[in-house]
Amino acid sequence: MFSQISFFKINDQKGQVLAEILVAVVLAGIIIGGIAISTGTSVTTSSKIRENTIATNIIQSAVEKVKILSEQSWIKIYCPPLGSCPGSKGSSNLYYIDDNFQIQNGQTPQVVDGVTYNYYFYIDNVNRDASGNITTSGGTEDPSTQKVTVVVSWANNSISMSEYIMRLTSQSIVDFNWRPELVSSNVFTNSLGYYAATSGTLLFQNGTITLTPSGSGSLTSVIFDTQQANGVAFNSIRWKGSLPTSSHVRFQFASSNSTSSFSFIGPDGTSATYYEAAGPDQIIPLSVIYHNNQRYFRYKVYLDPTTDNSAAPTINKIIINYSY
């Protein structure tokens, strides 16, 4: 009897131990399996984080290279890859910058920590509306603004980022102190009081230009050289002086890459229109699209007296602003 009870108890206990082992193994399996998956994911994620960080750094480096190149020679960015316009732009024209800071076609590999990253960039024109705001539809092309998109791809991943690059070196030429005897057809890099021609009733008075109010007159400037071999974007004209009511000061502007060919045009690109401000010291924006990537310029200023021919405008300075 005693031994019978003892036998059942032992059997009972054995079964209990087995169940405990099974539960323990299942629990351990579930937990260790979960941990294995978690660790695997962590390792993969860690690798992805590293790759993303490297790709982001490559983008930053590429954007900086494009920016440096644009500061050295805007035309290479505006008319890629060689700087001969119109160049090839858009997402189907892929470029990279080589070790000699030249734009090359295609993409280039970069191996970091055993992973091959291919990077390239492409360039898009940017339009602006009448208020000067960047717009994605409509507007007119701004030749001093380009959108650069850098793409880095590796394995089955890719990252892209964009930046607007602009022509931001500001310069000006101020023409003043004209003298009637200083007529010249030479090229000047700054104002020395020379002019090329006059017409009508234009008068010189102590370095300023004005009119005999009985009629209109004009002055044609000498040829000015911005000394930028790849040309500049001419931004604006401004003049200083006085403008009696009902008199007018109007401009036409000509830009060129040679010193022998100039066409004086107005805002619509024809010789039938004129740039005009409501008064002195006001900015007159030039139509940049007609005066883009040109090295030389000259202007023609037209003066008209008041309607009763009693007074005339006087100009003591003409300022041309440009950027490169």
Partner: protein, 136 residues
Amino acid sequence: MKKYFKQKGFSLLPTVLVTSIIVAEVGIALSFVMYMANSASFASRLLQESYLCAKSAMSDAYLRIIRNKDFSAASGYNITLGRCTANVVVQKDVPAQYATTITVTATVLNRKKTLQGIVSIDPDNGTALMYSLQEL
């Protein structure tokens, strides 16, 4: 013999449970650290995007000043670049006469980057030069 079985069965389960809890804790901590690192990496990418966007907006305001020395936009205007929107405020004669302050706040998702630049303007010839650029 009875005692031996009883003790063995009794000690195995707690041992496995405690060990598992420790391993699980390490695993959860590891996952959390990875999650944080992943978030940081994504945040870093967003910050890079917002930085490029902020620089674009800064250049835009600078170009407008180059073209028109009197340009100002005290109430601000927006520039969009991909999924980033940058607000640009241009204050003329701040912090001094013949200087213009540009403040750009670029936002990508919930990440912001703020840049401030100061442009000096020659009142006579109208040329502009950015002499200060800092991240706020």
